[in-house]
């Protein structure tokens, strides 16, 4: 994969390998559960892509190829932890128990978020690249001041590491030993810009300059991601400060449904990464080591299909929001300018239950 050290516990061929510092203690059922999670989010993601093509969603950001990075990280979280996603973290949303149709509300443009962040301990998707890193560090510093034993985890892509926000977040987190885990999914492409153009050194090594540890993990190895994340979260909860985890993975599809990756990258790269598929290696391992029968995988696929059908049904049945709801949720308290805007809209005859 590369000469740069990275933590791997399960090879692309599905062989368990050892690492001097990290070892997974997960048993067959837990690993099968992760395969199920990955199967379901891949299936739901494909359904969402179809819905966009069919004019039912304005946009969709596919996660295919990054299932292990997200499920491995998502399953390492504890209920009290708080997470800040970008807009591709559908797998994290799944792990946090957010119903899939809520993920799509933003992309159908019927909602500015989709869910109550407090209810699920998961912030709403952030479209502005890297901005959530600052929000997350601020949150983590609050947790630190409350003396609570919980970790904050923030997700972003390799492109975000070129943003000022993320670097500022690193500075603050490093200076204050904030209880946070920075999780960068290096999927090799910031839309059409390759990672190698964005950083002269591997991304995980950036952490050193900010004064906290960084580690690269095989982002397509759900066991390794789980173990590395689990340890970083515990480190944060115990007051050890931040960690930067670079999940080395690959975006198999387009950046979003508005993108055509064949314009800037070659099929050969994609072919190479197909052999590193995050689901296939887990399946190979479960079949070979634990003799999991094909019928169990078929049952997972059927479950995923049923969830996809339900998702489609839910999306098609979504109500259009009251246009005036655009003024809600921006501020906790009444804000005079927001109120003025709302009054103007009403005068123009927009919204207000007229539909």
């Amino acid at each position: 994969m590369s000469e740069i050290p990275l933590v791997q516990l399960l090879t692309p061929e599905g062989e368990r390998v050892t690492h001097p510092e990290y070892e997974s203690t997960l048993g067959k059922d837990e690993i099968f559960g992760m395969h199920r999670d990955m199967t379901i989010i891949r299936r739901l993601c494909n359904e969402a892509t179809s819905l966009q093509r069919q004019g039912q969603l304005a946009l969709w950001a596919p996660l295919q190829g990054q299932e292990a990075a997200q499920i491995g990280a998502g399953r390492a979280l504890q209920p009290m932890d708080f997470t800040f996603p970008s807009y591709r973290e559908h797998g994290i949303a799944w792990c946090r128990g957010i119903p899939p149709e809520k993920w799509l509300r933003l992309f159908r443009a019927v909602d500015h978020g989709g869910w109550d962040p407090q209810q699920y301990r998961h912030s709403v998707p952030t479209i502005v690249i890297g901005n959530q890193a600052l929000n997350a560090v601020g949150y983590a510093m609050g947790v630190q001041r409350d003396g609570a034993e919980e970790a904050t985890m923030v997700f972003f892509g390799d492109g975000a590491t070129s943003e000022g926000d993320v670097n500022e977040a690193f500075v603050w987190a490093g200076s204050f030993d904030a209880p946070i885990v920075f999780f960068v999914q290096n999927n090799q492409w910031a839309i059409s810009e390759p990672t190698v153009r964005q950083s002269k050194i591997p991304l995980y090594r950036r952490a050193e300059g900010f004064g906290f540890p960084g580690i690269r993990v095989d982002g397509n190895d759900v066991l390794a991601v789980h173990e590395v994340t689990k340890r970083a979260l515990a480190h944060a909860r115990e007051g050890g400060g931040p960690t930067l985890i670079e999940a080395f993975t690959y975006r198999m599809g387009a950046h979003t449904t508005s993108d055509d990756p064949t314009r800037y990258r070659i099929d050969a790269d994609v072919e190479v990464w197909k052999h590193r598929d995050p689901l296939e290696r887990v399946k190979a391992y479960l079949v070979r080591q634990h003799q999991v029968p094909a019928s169990e995988f078929d049952a997972t696929s059927a479950e995923a299909d049923a969830l996809a059908a339900k998702l489609r049904e839910d999306v098609l049945a979504m109500d259009s929001p009251d246009p005036l709801s655009i003024f809600e949720y921006a501020y906790a308290d009444v804000h005079p300018l927001i109120e003025e805007g709302k009054r103007d809209m009403i005068e123009l005859g927009v919204g207000g239950g007229a539909h």
């Binding site: 494909n46 359904e47 892509t49 179809s50 093509r53 069919q54 004019g55 039912q56 159908r108 443009a109 019927v110 387009a254 449904t257 508005s258 993108d259 055509d260 064949t262 314009r263 070659i266 050969a268 489609r312 049904e313 098609l316 049945a317 979504m318 109500d319 259009s320 123009l348 539909h355």
Partner: protein
């Protein structure tokens, strides 16, 4: 490309067709399971947003006839009716595509077939911006009655102001022609649907010159061609490195700059390529100065202005000369003197996404080089397949005076230059 045919039974989300939009080529999955009853449009057609693409009979039998006028949009799915799939939602009588329907009596209503779209019925609401809509409303003007002059027919504030200040409200004309190459021999062609069945365009001006020159050349000079594929990765790197230098900020460097320098360099090494076969005089004229012709696609048609004494130019000089040449060609300010005396020509087909071409010689010249696109491609280096930036250089030449050996030497020289431009540039 259609992936289904009429009569096919298709599943939900089965790929139907590849659609090319301004940004991407995408595969369209079927929103319905059923039987394909009609395909709208052929491969290569430009289909307006909102126009039907395909008709699918869903559910049981008893299908509605194909061209049924719009039914109520709340007709439940599964009663055996024709669903119409469109690019981004369904055009309705109200104008704007209805994207979100409020939950009615029926679950997940299937979009009704739109009323037949004709060239006079706009498929979409007039495009404008909220402040302009408000401005129009405040002045009691129906925005639908205004013809937009902004980009893609956008109705701008000044459009509304014109109506406010006494102009008559103008009816919306037919939707804008589908985007595509509608320019032909210097004329803007009417859309396929609305243009005459047969159209006659007088042959004059640039078109006349192009036709005469090509005929004269094609039927007097026996054309032969040769081509070479070159690993131009170092050229790409060099250009990229140079472009990032502040001192080069105002210089427009492109692969064409290097090809032009390479060809001039080749002419210095092999002057025979810079010759002209004069049949009437019974002479071949060798010239030791390059007037480098550049085939330029202009709004008026194809013209080939040249850069005099191009062989004396350095990198920046060549880049500037090319920039000036192209700007003048586009602006239509090329002088007659800049059009005569060409000794060698380059036609740059790369920007069209083309790998190569076999061009016809401009009269009075013996070689023309076609430069293809520079694209990443597998390339063998030390028995390993690696990804390199590869370009194809093709040359047509007048076989009366230039033989295959000379042509090959010149091409190979150009190829070597592009393969490793730095030494060649420094040697000059």
């Amino acid at each position: 490309m259609w992936k289904v045919a009429v009569g096919d039974t298709i599943a939900l989300n089965q790929p139907l067709i590849d659609i090319e939009t301004a940004k991407a080529t995408v595969e369209l999955p079927s929103p319905y399971a059923g039987v394909v009853t009609k395909l709208h449009g052929e491969v290569g057609d430009v289909v307006p947003v909102g126009a039907p693409l395909i008709e699918i009979e869903v559910g049981g039998g008893d299908a509605a006839p194909l061209a049924t006028p719009a039914e109520p949009a709340t007709t439940p799915q599964g009663e055996g009716r024709t669903a119409v799939l469109v690019g981004y939602g369904v055009a309705t009588n109200e104008g704007a595509p209805t994207r979100h329907r409020r939950r009615g009596g029926a679950v997940a209503p299937a979009p009704a077939p739109p009323a037949p779209i004709t060239s006079t019925a706009p498929a979409l609401a007039p495009r404008s911006t909220p402040p302009v809509r408000l401005y129009a409303k405040q002045h009691g003007i129906d925005i639908e009655s205004i013809q937009g002059t902004g980009r893609d027919g956008l109705i701008t504030r000044s459009d509304v102001e014109r109506v406010v200040s006494g102009g008559t409200p103008r009816a919306r004309s037919a939707p804008a022609a589908p985007t595509g190459v509608t320019r032909f021999v210097g004329h803007e062609l009417a859309p396929w649907e609305s243009g005459p069945k047969e159209e006659r365009i007088p042959v004059r001006g640039v078109l006349r010159s192009m036709a005469d020159a090509m005929v004269q050349s094609a039927f007097s000079a026996p054309h032969a061609a040769a081509w070479v594929r070159v690993d131009a990765s170092k050229s790409v790197e060099l250009l990229s490195a140079l472009k990032s230098r502040p001192s080069m900020a105002n210089v427009r460097l492109s692969p064409l700059t290097l090809v032009a320098l390479a060809l001039c360099d080749a002419a210095r090494h092999f002057p025979g390529i810079n010759s002209r076969f004069d049949d009437a005089a019974g002479e071949v004229i060798v010239r030791r100065s390059v007037a480098l012709g550049i085939a330029a696609d202009t709004p008026r048609g194809l013209i080939v202005p040249n850069i005099k004494d191009a062989d004396t130019l350095d990198l920046v000089g060549m880049a500037d000369a090319l920039t000036t040449l192209v700007e003048k060609a586009r602006a239509g300010t090329t002088t007659p003197n800049e059009m005569i005396g060409t000794t060698l020509t380059i036609t740059n087909v790369g920007p069209f996404g083309i790998d190569g071409a076999m061009p016809i010689l401009p009269p009075g010249t013996s070689a023309i080089v076609a430069v293809g696109q520079i694209a990443k491609a597998p390339w063998v280096v030390d028995d390993e397949v690696v990804v390199r930036h590869v370009v194809e250089i093709a040359m047509s030449f007048d076989h009366r005076c230039i033989d295959g050996a000379l042509a090959s030497s010149v091409l190979a020289h150009v190829g070597r230059f592009l393969n490793d431009p730095a030494p060649a540039l420094l040697a000059r």
